[in-house]
């Protein structure tokens, strides 16, 4: 027989304003097993926890029910408090009377009634709880970082500097990511490559870091501390060990029609290529769709000119299996496809470009060697119009519902840089709102307006019409002036929304990490655990979690690294004791449970049992508690009812059902 104590939290007025907490406590006193019930302002506070300890001592309690906020919030807090007070932490149940009661109901009577029922169910469950002891599992002291942009690079460097091994998996031929494509960075206008390339080189040189470029995650299994990951190294057709990075192969390659991914398709590249001069590693790859040798068998020029004998047309994709204690997702973003925005004539005119394309045009290593030119005729533009919020903040299925966050600042940057370098060029920016929260951000935008004379127009553009003379007419509205404006421009730059890299969907499934409706990875808690995924051992870094700029990305990357270091520093982890177990007298060894177990945690043993005096050897299911994650699939599948789950046993759930329906 349990001796249960019930504690009803006011949560300030969050609960107490809608739920009559005294009545809930009083009602619990007549429940089976309850010997003590009380209410308090803040149960999670130190004095609240002290109250629990006192009651345990005074009333010799064996189980606790806390009626408070969601267990996702403070279950761990109260379990610790119980342990301190000398009760097994798994003898605690939470009745969620805040998120699932006081916050959604207005009527005090109704909410109080519901709180009583929820508390009743928790009491019924605790009556059947039994003490559980958590097991231990070892931690593999290596981290995997998926994605080699600035987020992945920073995370990897921070983890490696703490002395742990890190692997970076990057799907393109070089690390560097989107930041390597940028020309200058706001709000300081320092050159992106100047601050990024040293970090890339550091990564390559770090003894604790292994970089797998041109590689993808193929499969993930295991759990926190013990992940096993298959990495596919795509055939590079170049032996990285032999290649000296001289670049002669690229120079001689006769196939030069492919569009350069790095330059956003604005220039061409050879079939054998490194994406950009500072690529890490400085080892080219052969694009099999463009290579004449791989397509037709003829050519082989690169092989002939390679003094290091590094070319290998027979290379095949390779699978490498590695073990990790923690995984960081840093898959970054892409600019949205603009097919839904043909009113801006992006597909109809070469002089309508995205902001990322403008970065390449402004960059000395870009398609125009840094000269501001129109992509259609190479002429210098005299009038440039920027359009903000293209595909952001939409509620129409065409675009994204969120604000892409970085566009206001990079547009101000572009406008300022152009006015600085080409003072005779007129620059107009159509905006809906200018959003510049951030250190020195609004000052930066104001400088664009006040010092550089950028013409900011409040209003959106309805349509861009290409004209017979090659110019573009921008049809917009000036809401402050109250008139339609038509600007004749030579170049239109669209601040297109950003979205998570498409690979993240599949990756989320592999990692069983949840993603939101916009394909951003979900954090464990939006405020308190912003760099952790709800899946233990999986961490988030950079834009894969939500739009952010470089400084924010770098801080989040560092935070993710700190979390990983905290995990890898442990020698072993406490495992979840809520695992399955089978009753050897009921088990008939049918294998149904092993067939549904996603973790291969169930095996069979021939074991001698004593069934009511009859001794015989039977085939019996055994659960490996280190592997079992406690989903409970086996418990429902088991035809004889032998499988049950600690913490969520059949009897416990039925007791909750009964208490609710009573």
């Amino acid at each position: 027989m349990q001796r249960i104590g019930v504690f009803v939290c006011h949560c300030g007025s969050n609960i107490a304003a809608t739920v009559d907490v005294k009545r809930v406590a009083l009602a619990m006193l007549s429940e089976n097993g309850v010997v003590f019930a009380d209410d308090y302002q803040y149960m999670c506070s130190e004095s609240g926890q002290l109250k629990i300890a006192q009651a345990v001592k005074e009333h010799n309690l064996t189980g606790l029910v806390i009626c408070s906020c969601s267990p996702r919030m403070h279950e761990a807090t109260f379990r610790k408090a119980a342990e301190k007070a000398g009760i097994n932490p798994y003898m605690v149940e939470i009745a969620n009377i805040r998120e699932q009661c006081s916050w959604i109901h207005k009527d005090i009577e109704q909410a109080t009634q519901k709180a009583i029922i929820l508390a009743r169910a928790a009491v019924a469950k605790v009556n059947l709880n039994s003490p559980l002891i958590a097991g231990k599992s070892p931690v593999k002291k290596r981290a995997l970082v998926i994605g080699g942009g600035i987020a992945g690079i920073q995370t990897a460097l921070d983890i490696a500097d703490a002395g742990f091994e890190v692997d970076i998996v990057e799907k393109t031929p070089s690390i560097g990511g989107k930041m390597s494509q940028l020309d200058k960075t706001f709000p300081t206008l320092d050159c992106s490559a100047c601050i990024l390339t040293p970090k890339m080189v550091d990564c390559a040189a770090h003894e604790k870091i292994t970089i797998f470029t041109y590689s993808e995650v193929e499969n993930v299994s295991g759990f926190v501390g013990n992940f096993t990951v298959d990495i596919k190294k795509k055939a590079r057709y170049v032996d990285s060990a032999k290649c000296t990075g001289c670049g002669l192969c690229q120079e001689k390659c006769p196939s030069k029609k492919a569009l350069s991914e790095f330059n956003c398709g604005l220039s061409n590249r050879s079939a054998i290529y490194t994406p950009f001069a500072q690529a890490v590693p400085n080892v080219p790859v052969i694009d099999p769709l463009q290579c004449i040798k791989l397509k037709t068998g003829k050519c082989g020029l690169c092989e002939k000119v390679c003094a290091a004998n590094a070319i290998d047309y027979t290379q095949k994709d390779e699978i490498i299996t590695r073990e990790y204690g923690a995984i960081v997702v840093a898959t970054g973003f892409d600019v949205i496809n603009l097919d839904n925005y043909d009113e801006y004539a992006y597909s109809q005119s070469k002089d309508v470009i995205t902001s990322l394309e403008l970065e390449r045009i402004m960059n000395a290593a870009g398609p125009t060697k840094g000269h501001l030119e129109r992509m259609s005729d190479g002429k210098a533009p005299k009038n440039i119009v920027f359009v903000q919020c293209v595909g952001s903040r939409c509620a129409d299925n065409k675009g994204k519902s969120y604000c892409s966050k970085i566009c206001c600042m990079y547009t101000a940057k572009h406008a300022m840089l152009i006015r600085d370098k080409y003072p005779d060029v007129n620059v107009s920016v159509f905006y809906i709102d200018v959003r510049t929260p951030g250190k020195n951000f609004d000052e930066f935008y104001r400088r664009a307006v006040e010092e550089y004379g950028v013409n900011y127009i409040k209003g959106q553009v309805g349509k861009v019409t290409p004209e017979p003379d090659g110019s573009l007419t921008v049809h917009g509205v000036d809401l402050i002036d109250g008139r339609q404006v038509k600007i004749s421009a030579d170049m239109v730059v669209l601040a297109a929304a950003i979205e998570p890299n498409a690979s993240v969907r599949q990756l989320a499934t592999q990692l069983t990490a949840s993603i939101d409706t916009n394909n951003f990875l979900t954090e464990a808690h939006p405020k308190l655990r912003p760099v952790e995924s709800p899946t233990a051992g999986v961490f988030l870094s950079g834009v894969c979690q939500g739009p952010k700029d470089i400084p924010e990305t770098v801080s989040q990357a560092g935070a993710a690294a700190a979390k990983v270091i905290g995990l890898l520093a442990k020698n072993e982890l406490t495992t979840n004791p809520c695992t399955a177990h089978s009753d050897e007298l009921l088990c008939n060894g049918c294998s149904a449970c092993a067939n549904v177990c996603p973790y291969g945690a169930i095996s069979y043993q021939d074991k001698e049992v004593n069934d009511h005096g009859i001794r015989e050897t039977r085939r019996i299911a055994m659960v490996n508690t280190a592997l079992c994650q406690g989903c409970g699939a086996c418990t429902v599948t088991c035809p004889s009812g032998a499988m049950d789950l600690n913490g969520f046993s059949n009897k416990q759930i039925i007791a909750e059902v009964d208490a609710i329906c009573r």
Partner: protein, 147 residues
């Protein structure tokens, strides 16, 4: 249709929510103050695949008027495949309910992610309305269970 009694009739509804998606979705509905009727009481389970059809029948025996099972979206299960098992089991339960002459609309399966607070609240509102339209569960209630 017992439309006129829907005002006074407060159905008993049990909602099984998986710990990773739907329970979190319910929490988010709470912190976003998206109301749904107090008739819904949530039982947390690790995964929708932990819900034994027997629990549902038990709830009906004990006088529940509707049972709803919420899990992660297909493909997003924290345990990879649990929600697929749940879906298959519930399909069988539906045909069994139909076979024994019970309105299968008293049971619903919905996928609600941790981010879908609006969907959670809308689902609960519509389910309660559906149960109110069906009226009290009289056919499944076990008289021995009535006090």
């Amino acid at each position: 249709m017992p439309m006129n009694s829907t005002e006074s009739f407060a159905p008993k509804i049990v909602a099984f929510c998986c710990n990773w998606c739907s329970y979190a979705g319910a929490d988010l509905a709470g912190s976003s103050r998206l109301a749904y009727p107090a008739d819904v009481k949530i039982i947390k389970v690790p995964c929708s695949c932990r819900v034994n059809p027997m629990f549902i029948l038990r709830a009906f025996e004990k006088g529940a008027d509707g049972v709803i099972i919420c899990g992660c979206h297909p493909g997003d299960c924290h345990y990879s495949t649990g929600n697929y098992y749940a879906r298959r089991r519930m399909t069988l339960l539906f045909s069994m309910l139909e076979y024994i002459g019970i309105e299968k609309d008293r049971v619903r399966v919905e996928w609600v992610s941790a981010a879908e607070a609006v969907k959670f609240s809308e689902t609960m509102n519509s389910f309660v309305l559906q149960i109110k339209n069906l009226g009290e569960n009289v056919r499944l209630g076990d008289l021995r269970c009535k006090s």
